[in-house]
């Protein structure tokens, strides 16, 4: 090989060359030069300025360097010899400070002045620094270049104070943040990731996949805090000591990595008067508003888009090179996909996965393998995909998407992947199942083969449910439900019977199945239920979300955190919505008793908030109508001040205990029905139920409290207390059934608690006691409670659950909890004088 030519000394040809100056020695700048050289090596005399004091390297490989999987040398793209061989002048470690467009030259920090004929801006992007106190402390780093990696490695090497494990806090749960967290974790640090949004990598992943990722990272020892807002970085002696969150949590830290996002680096261009919006504006040939200046990479904005991925960058560089070598092709924008390994977990996303009008989600979940796949189809074309755990088919979906291929022929098998869907006849799932061998395993959970399932079907199991009951196939996680349904169809043709109603269209399981599996599999949050039970929608529907929220609340008292967004409006707002969008408020009056202080407070609220109506309810309470959602916390504060708590007139919960005056006043009264009613209400208030639950206590068989049309009714008699259940005064009137008779108040209370808990644990969501008892039979309820010690066990479980429930939600709201639910975003007054119009 000839000795490298040194351009600075000048070559004969070099004299006539156009001078191309490149600002930015990164991936885009160098790739653009490579592309130009490949087309016309003689055209330009090239000078590249780089702020970093080193040659061009692959920035996206910094993560493996941090993780110790690669060395810096291994990620160098172009070594010094590349610059030498191609006669490129590399000015590294000298930042360009300004562009002088008038004289066509750039001025660097060192004072170096470089004239150009063509200028290429490839300044990339800057990490976004959130403006919190302490952001400038020592030990607060970004994750952008090798210097950052060196700082992180230094921190990891040093460890924590007193020889403890070093602690790192990574702000930002996007791709970059998670890679930093992974690397630091491998380097022996204890890592906490804090992320503002509720889902990790929300730009690339939907809620379901983000939840899986979080769970897996936590399993591997990282702490992941989502929905966490950084308030301040705390320092000691100029060095970082910890991070304080908005909610007051303080996390100790020896290093803080800020990885919340990137911004196109546009300062140079903006100061030079080149047109800039979010990024430097370029046309399809990467030319800026100044024809002598080109721009490429993360710093540009093309057709409204700014890109932060590598693939679009390569496309831009090709278009740029075509243009400057006078064979313009034009860049059309890029469709991007993300395929990556986070901490060894495969994740893929591409296109539009936000769903929408005319979009159809095809979801497949395989809990045993930790796989979630979702393909979004619109007008018979794939428009997006999210894959977690198994990304083998990512490129195939991406290809279908880019080509806009019609997938209607392979629609049924699409989600199973290329091998399956492209298999001609196999694209029909029934045919595919028919083609399976007899010993092929259908249900992995219970080890059931195809032959066994077919035998079960032929023996008379004509529905999915019957198959589940007979041979257990598809009875555990449900991921093979489709296969079993296909086997039913193949084996029986049109004779397949539909099973009992499933919970909703999002699942193949019934309410009973879901309740059983939540307990069996110890499922504790909604996304986990949806993943483990193979929900066919990404985030459920308005039917299943509230049901799951209740089932989890009931199964894991004290542990489960209520999901407000899965609550019906009334339960979310703790008041009853009316047809005009205002609310009605019913304070609790124990057993229907009240006093002057409470009545005054109610009267004051009515006047203060201009409530247009107050009404006595059927459950012996006062209902205040016409309260605006913004006023609710203030109304509650006033009612709380008079000693009143939420009446839960709005909930699938204990509503009221209605009483008559009983033996204390009534000449017919046999027992203290009022006193017992108050005791029952004190015991049961605040409990969430499958549906609303009403109680009454009558002091004698004249039954003035109408106890025999309540969910639980007590009728006092001389010898004790008759306990009635399953009554309803609604659309379909149903008188109660007699559950039994007890001698003492204590027994009445105990049986009441036990009956409620049995109903709470076994009824379907939105099933009142009346239809529940008609469904399971009174005898079943009696039998369950007649088992040895059953009443005590159920009652104990009810009381345990109640200790977490009897916390007045009004008081919490009045103190500011979930205040956003009650506040407008803002108020907009676009019209002059509109204030007066409204006054």
């Amino acid at each position: 090989m000839n000795a490298p030519m040194n351009f600075e000394k000048g070559t004969p040809a070099g004299q006539d060359r156009e001078r191309l100056v490149v600002i930015g020695n990164g991936m885009a700048g160098c790739r653009a030069v490579e592309e130009i050289l490949a087309r016309d090596p003689e055209r330009f005399a090239v000078t590249i300025f780089g702020a970093e004091p080193r040659v061009n390297y692959n920035r996206i490989m910094l993560s493996p360097v941090l993780a110790g999987e690669k060395t810096f040398e291994e990620i160098v793209i172009n070594g010094q010899e590349w610059y030498d061989e191609n006669g490129i002048t590399l000015v590294s470690g000298d930042k360009v400070e300004s562009i002088d467009r008038e004289h066509k030259r750039v001025i660097a920090a060192s004072g170096r002045v470089e004239p150009y004929d063509r200028l290429l801006i490839a300044t990339g992007s800057d990490p976004f620094i959130i403006p919190v106190p302490g952001k400038d402390l020592g030990g607060v780093v970004t994750f952008r270049d090798l210097d950052d990696v060196d700082k992180m490695l230094e921190a990891a090497g040093k460890g924590g104070p007193n020889g403890e494990q070093g602690r790192a806090v990574v702000i930002g749960g996007g791709l970059l943040g998670l890679e930093a967290a992974h690397g630091l974790s491998l380097r022996g640090m204890k890592v906490t990731v804090i992320h503002l949004m509720p889902t990790l990598m929300e730009r690339q992943l939907d809620e379901a996949a983000g939840w899986l990722l979080k769970t897996e990272l936590e399993r591997r020892g990282q702490t992941v805090l989502t929905g966490a807002n950084t308030k301040e970085i705390v320092g000691r002696d100029g060095m970082v000591a910890g991070v304080r969150l908005e909610d007051g949590t303080e996390l100790p830290a020896d290093i803080v990595v800020m990885a919340v996002g990137i911004r196109p680096a546009t300062v140079l261009a903006r100061e030079a008067g080149v047109e800039v919006e979010r990024g430097i504006m370029v046309d399809d040939h990467m030319v800026t508003s100044d024809p002598a200046i080109l721009a490429v990479g993360e710093c540009v904005q093309h057709r409204g888009m700014c890109y932060g991925l590598v693939a679009p960058l390569w496309d831009m560089c090709r278009a740029l090179a075509d243009f400057v070598t006078e064979a313009p092709s034009g860049y059309q924008g890029s469709v991007t996909s993300t395929k990556l390994k986070v901490s060894g977990i495969d994740v893929f996303s591409a296109g539009d996965f936000s769903g929408g009008e005319g979009c159809e989600d095809i979801v497949m979940r395989d809990a045993s393998r930790g796989v979630y796949k979702r393909v979004i189809v619109k007008e018979s074309k794939v428009i997006g995909a999210v894959l977690y755990g198994d990304t083998a088919d990512g490129s195939w979906y991406f290809d279908l998407m880019k080509k806009g291929e019609d997938v209607s022929d392979i629609r049924e098998a699409l989600i199973f992947g290329q091998a399956f869907a492209s298999g001609g006849a196999l694209a029909d799932p029934n045919a595919a199942v028919a083609a399976l061998s007899d010993d092929a395993e259908i249900c992995g959970c219970n080890g059931v083969s195809k032959a066994t399932v077919v035998k079960t079907i032929l023996a008379g199991a004509c529905s999915l449910d019957a198959v589940r009951g007979s041979c257990k196939a598809s009875a555990s996680c449900g991921s093979c439900t489709g296969l079993v349904e296909s086997l039913l169809a193949v084996t029986l043709g049109g004779d397949v019977q539909s099973g009992p109603r499933t919970m909703c269209k999002c699942t193949s399981f019934t309410h009973d199945d879901v309740r059983r599996l939540i307990v069996e599999k110890r499922l504790k949050v909604i996304p986990e239920v949806m993943q483990e039970l193979h929900w066919t929608t990404p985030d459920g529907c308005a039917s299943c979300r509230p049901a799951l929220n209740y089932y989890l609340l009931c199964a894991w008292p004290g542990e489960y955190e209520d999901d407000q967004k899965s609550r019906f409006v009334n339960e979310r707002m703790h008041a009853n919505i009316q047809k005009d969008g205002t609310y009605s408020v019913v304070p609790r009056m124990w057993g229907g008793l009240t006093n002057p202080r409470e009545l005054r407070a109610i009267a004051d609220v009515v006047e203060k908030f201009n409530a247009p109506m107050v009404k006595v309810t059927g459950g012996q309470r006062l209902d205040i109508f016409g309260i605006k959602k913004e006023d609710l916390p203030a109304v509650w504060a006033d009612l709380n001040a008079a000693g009143m708590v939420s009446g839960h007139a709005y909930g699938k919960s204990l509503r009221t205990v209605k009483t008559c005056v009983g033996s204390e006043w009534c000449r017919f009264g046999t027992q203290d029905s009022t006193g017992l009613g108050v005791k029952i209400e004190r015991m049961t208030w605040g409990s969430w139920m499958p549906h609303k639950f009403k109680i009454a206590v009558s002091g004698c068989p004249r039954n003035c409290a109408e106890a025999t049309i309540k969910d639980f009714g007590v009728v006092c008699v001389d010898s004790g207390y008759e306990l009635h259940v399953g009554g309803n005064g609604g659309i379909k009137v149903r008188a109660t059934d007699l559950l039994g008779k007890v001698a003492t108040e204590e027994e009445a209370l105990e049986v009441c608690a036990a009956f409620i808990q049995l109903y709470r644990e076994e009824a379907h969501y939105l099933e009142r006691t009346a239809p529940w008892i008609e469904r399971v039979g009174l005898q079943y309820v009696k039998d369950r409670l007649a088992e040895e010690g059953a009443v005590q066990r159920y009652a104990a479980r009810f009381r345990y659950s109640q200790q977490f429930m009897q916390d007045d939600p009004w008081a919490r709201r009045a103190a500011g909890e979930h205040d956003k639910l009650h506040q407008h975003l803002a108020e907009f007054r676009p019209f002059p004088g509109s204030q007066m119009e409204n006054a």
Binding site: L196, M197, P198, T199, E202, R203, D206, E207, N229, R278, F353, S354, G355, G356, E357, D361, T537, P538, D539, G540, C541, A542, R545, P546, Q564, K565, S566, R567, F568, V569, N570, R572, M573, I577, K579, D580, G581, K629, K820, L821, Q823, H824, L825, A826, E827, F828, R829, P830, F831, P832, G833, S834, Q835, E837, N838
Partner: protein, 122 residues
């Protein structure tokens, strides 16, 4: 461009899976109305008139799933994208063009004020 878009604050003020409201106080010839701004669990933002086409229920108070909200009054499902009632129900609620830029939510000013409203007097 900024003039056409109304900045209504940062994205973080609306939790995913919920909506919040923006009252637009009326003036001569324009009635006061309310806009519901939704943040879905898939991290998309939508703005609609806070009024179900069925019986004017406040859509902002409904359960959000996918890009659909279920009206709290009578369970109509309304597409957040188009404002159209889904399933067998028929009706449509006006949508307001929305964009998110650098972590802030912008609504198209003219749509916020509503058609038929007088042009802004100087």
């Amino acid at each position: 461009m900024i003039g056409n878009w109304l900045d209504i604050g940062p994205v973080t003020q609306i939790e995913p899976g919920t909506a919040r409201t923006l009252p637009v106080i009326g003036g001569p010839g324009a009635e006061t109305r309310e806009i519901a701004v939704f943040h879905t669990m898939r991290n998309e933002f939508f703005a609609l008139l806070n009024r179900c086409p069925h019986k004017q229920g406040p859509l902002s108070q409904g359960i959000v799933h996918g890009d659909v909200v279920t009206c709290p009054l009578h369970n109509w499902n309304i597409s957040l994208r188009s404002g159209k009632a889904l399933g067998d129900d028929e009706g449509c609620v006006p949508t307001i063009p929305l964009k998110v830029d650098a972590g802030r939510i912008y609504l198209l000013r003219s749509a916020v004020i509503g058609e038929g409203a007088p042009a802004e007097a100087a």
